[in-house]
Symmetry: C2
Amino acid sequence: MRQASIRDVAKLAGVSTATVARVLRGTTPVSDALRERVEDAVAKLGYVPNAVARSLSRGRTQLLGLLVADISNPFFGEVARGLEDAAVAGGYQVLVGSSDLNPERERAVLAAFESRTVDGVALTSSTADSSTLRKLTASGMPMVFIDRRPADVAGPAVLCDNEAAARRAVQYLIGLGHTDLAMISGPRTMATAAQRLAGFRAACAEAGLSIRPECVREGYLGIEGGSKAMRRVLELDTPPTAVFSFNNLLGVGALSATREMGVEVPGEVSLLTFDDMTLFPFVDPPVTAIAQPAYQMGTEAARLLLDALANPAAEQPKDIVLPSDFRIRSSCAAPPPRP
Amino acid sequence: MRQASIRDVAKLAGVSTATVARVLRGTTPVSDALRERVEDAVAKLGYVPNAVARSLSRGRTQLLGLLVADISNPFFGEVARGLEDAAVAGGYQVLVGSSDLNPERERAVLAAFESRTVDGVALTSSTADSSTLRKLTASGMPMVFIDRRPADVAGPAVLCDNEAAARRAVQYLIGLGHTDLAMISGPRTMATAAQRLAGFRAACAEAGLSIRPECVREGYLGIEGGSKAMRRVLELDTPPTAVFSFNNLLGVGALSATREMGVEVPGEVSLLTFDDMTLFPFVDPPVTAIAQPAYQMGTEAARLLLDALANPAAEQPKDIVLPSDFRIRSSCAAPPPRP
């Protein structure tokens, strides 16, 4: 079937093509009855306005930009997927750029977004100096943060309950009998790392447990980083009996280190990580994890952007804090008896 | 520190700002000595030309577009990461759009790319009617295909040795003693699905094995699809003793079906899949897989695009066919004895 044209829509609605264009542009007031007739015809014919032409006439590109740290990290893949699905439902497409946490790459992606390639921007894991971000805000570009927000930049954020979730999970480890715990954390400058570490410390403090300084490893990222940090922890004269990992890739790295060193999980050390992964239930042993609603974080961010685009004059919305899900599997158990 | 301006560069190099602009544009010939002086000043000051201004003056955006089927599939995440890393090394950024194998979404992403948002396009898993793609080619946009190429469109491709790799893997299963094999395949219209199925059939034919029609499940995608197909196969009166999965997500779905049905891998059924995943070595049992060089497929595609942008008059390069890696783990074994 040939694709419907604006002429087909006009004919079916019994109006001129100029009227169809006016209704679709949405900038000139038209009567409700007229709008309904045109929208009915659009729906019946499955008419898709030419995106380029439409963007030129409206000064919009119908594109949203998403900045992520690492597109090959499944967490960001899920966020992107959620953002996309909701954006597409609202008539937008998403372009994803990735920074590798490199400020220069991030600036380049944001510059591409800023030059009106996109109508709105969602940012995860921003490392940008806030001046770049403030410039973007000042340009009037609708903006939303996902996962974390730099301290001195305004803009709504979709966040997870990082500190509370970490605290609850560590309470679970303490409940199993652990008194000597370690955390493999991310870079100190990353808000989520600081929040999850705070949750770890809070749970230990509540239980009257002290944390050995060498059992808090900060600054690691990626599978390699997780493996290295886990080795350092397990090679201590007295290794801790439970390890809490800041995120999915650090958790995978920690797991691989236990395999390489022949350390049994959970027999010799319990392992618990922030972020779930599709295959964690199938791993030997199935990995206990705090699942962030990554997909939903994406859809909520899209909703905030679409709302801002539909109502440019509206007040800035409040942050959205989504609950995580604690999934107990088999990688944590009571600590081994100590001599 | 305030960011260096073109004026700072000119002052340090002892030339006019017009000369700096000329050197940076790279379109007008300048003496090597002059170029060196300007480039030294740029490096010393860490000067970053405004991307928008630069793209306007050169008619380029320094952006590459990547179309993928599903950004949350780790295979595409790795391809994107490889493309990005190589693009960034060449002074480009990448914007990724995802089609969900929906032709309408794909058209919208390609329209955004076509309207000169980007300087070159890499396409994976295209479902587009070839007219959309031919329009893009006709516009002079450098284009490269990754993973597969629609039959009637020109353009270089970076491919994996799909048929040969599938054949080798199935030969391995046959070598273990299997005589009754099944394949969970993707949609028939997907070139890679057809190629891997051809490899499966060839290996069976060579060994004189016939394949039961109900043991070739076509048209499945995603984890859900893999689980459903695996259930159908395992619920046969006489289930096959080995199953070959078309890709990673179908493989995960097949694995989850065996868990849910209490079927032992590899004791009751051997499982082998195209595409490796980070966690496959840690799964119970570790999953035997054909690893595609996804990251390298991305870097090679970037190289082809950067070459085409640097030498617009060059002849179209040949396809690049990359070898896969067969990773034998523990999910395949000799078939169980039959009564």
